[in-house]
């Protein structure tokens, strides 16, 4: 989007809601946490748009998203988990899915599990780059770090992930 345009909240929700949810889901591996986080982000976007001054919108949006996630993590540390995440895949069609579907689900699960084990900084950088599709510049702005650090985190994050997957 052109930097000069300030979108309405609804436009942001429609355009980026799904991306925010996917970011949150890949970061947490948990659909409930992801939805909560995405809602929180949209709430903050809605509030923040009133004082938003034109600049890099994506940098702004993903900074909000990141801060919301970190606030959630900070809070969870103080409050022990009451329940294990539910597994939505328990409910499905009775006919067994074909093998290739199972394989792809299994592979996704492995990648997701490896992802959530990465230290936060690396997980965040990798998810922003490979799930959301942000440029290094945008990641630098969102995470408030130099581009050199972005390069390093993405590279090390991918290496760690590769080690966990082999």
């Amino acid at each position: 989007m052109p930097d000069q345009e300030i979108p309405t909240w609804e436009e942001v929700a429609r355009r980026d809601g799904r991306k925010i949810y996917n970011f949150a889901y890949r970061l947490t591996g948990n659909p409930d946490d992801a939805k909560d986080l995405a809602q929180e982000v949209l709430l903050r976007v809605r509030k923040g748009l009133r004082t938003y001054t034109p600049g890099s919108f994506d940098g702004w949006l993903w900074r909000i998203t990141r801060n919301a996630f970190l606030d959630q993590v900070r809070y969870r540390k103080r409050r022990p988990e009451s329940a294990l995440p539910e597994d939505d895949r328990g409910v499905g069609p009775s006919a067994p899915p074909p093998d290739e579907v199972l394989d792809s689900v299994r592979l996704s699960d492995e990648v997701q599990a490896a992802l959530v084990e990465l230290p936060y900084e690396f997980r965040e950088a990798v998810v922003m780059a490979d799930v959301v599709g942000l440029s290094y510049e945008e990641i630098a702005e969102a995470a408030d770090i130099p581009v050199g650090t972005v390069r390093s985190r993405i590279h090390r994050g991918r290496k760690m992930l590769k080690e966990r997957l082999s």
Binding site: Q39, L43, R46, V126, L161, K162
Partner: protein, 242 residues
């Protein structure tokens, strides 16, 4: 050049300038270790990029104009006929806690003339922002430990979360983003306002309150608005000072 290391992922992502890219490409011609490393990070990137894109859960992303239709507060409105009813609820909580305790709402914390909470919730134009704040403030004035709050939250199947740490929210009574009546009141700690109800984007009514430098968001598992009494009890259990 020395081994490019971190630059390999940037090379893969086409995030290098021309000189860097040329240097990395030249190095790769001569270094098998770096080619292996490039292959490794590439396969990791492919694995992540192959994760399926998930649909947003229902209600997260509003349909056009859906937001504006949700400015209804029947659940809450029906349960709260007015400030008097609210104060009764608050006292009721205290009485359930301990029959011998005096009511926990001191008379002098309740402004003498307040609009009924129902007219506040309905966005009655005769009720100004200040009056809404006062009415809701009065409704939330109560008392007292964290474990107690957890237990209370479980009993009410309410979910309590910190919304914003160290970042007081500035929300004006009845106005958010220029849309009236989505908001029931304001929460600005600096101005001494305690808490209120807000609609969430997906239409699930929530309560918000500020306590001990943190915002809390309360919603029930059922999707119904949390009763004022529940929120008051949670605040109480947290030991919030008004």
């Amino acid at each position: 050049m020395t081994h490019p290391g971190d630059l390999l992922s940037a090379y893969l992502d086409d995030e290098l300038n021309d000189d860097e890219r040329a240097a990395v490409a030249a190095h790769l011609q001569t270094c098998g270790d770096c080619r292996d490393e490039l292959t490794a990070v590439q396969s990791a990137a492919v694995a992540i990029r192959s994760l399926p894109a998930l649909d947003a859960p229902p209600g997260l992303v509003p349909a056009p104009a859906a937001w504006r239709k949700r400015r209804r507060w029947q659940t809450l409105g029906a349960a709260t006929a007015g400030v008097a009813a609210i104060v009764t609820l608050v006292v009721g909580v205290a009485v359930i806690g301990d029959n011998d305790e005096p009511p926990l709402v001191a008379a002098d914390t309740v402004p003498v003339v307040l609009p009924g909470l129902d007219s506040v919730l309905a966005g009655d134009s005769s009720v100004n922002g200040q009056q809404r704040v006062q009415a809701l403030e009065a409704a939330f004035r109560t008392m007292d430990g964290v474990e107690e709050m957890e237990r209370a939250a479980d009993e009410m199947s309410a979910d309590v979360e910190v919304m914003m740490h160290d970042e007081p929210m500035k929300i004006r009574a009845g106005m958010w983003d220029g849309v009236a009546a989505e908001y029931l009141a304001v929460m600005t700690p600096a101005e001494g306002v305690i808490g209120l109800f807000v609609a969430a984007e997906d239409g699930i009514p929530m309560a918000f309150f500020y306590c001990e430098h943190s915002w809390y968001r309360v919603h029930t598992g059922s999707g119904q608005a949390p009763p004022v009494s529940s929120v008051t009890a949670l605040r109480g259990a947290l030991g919030c000072e008004s």
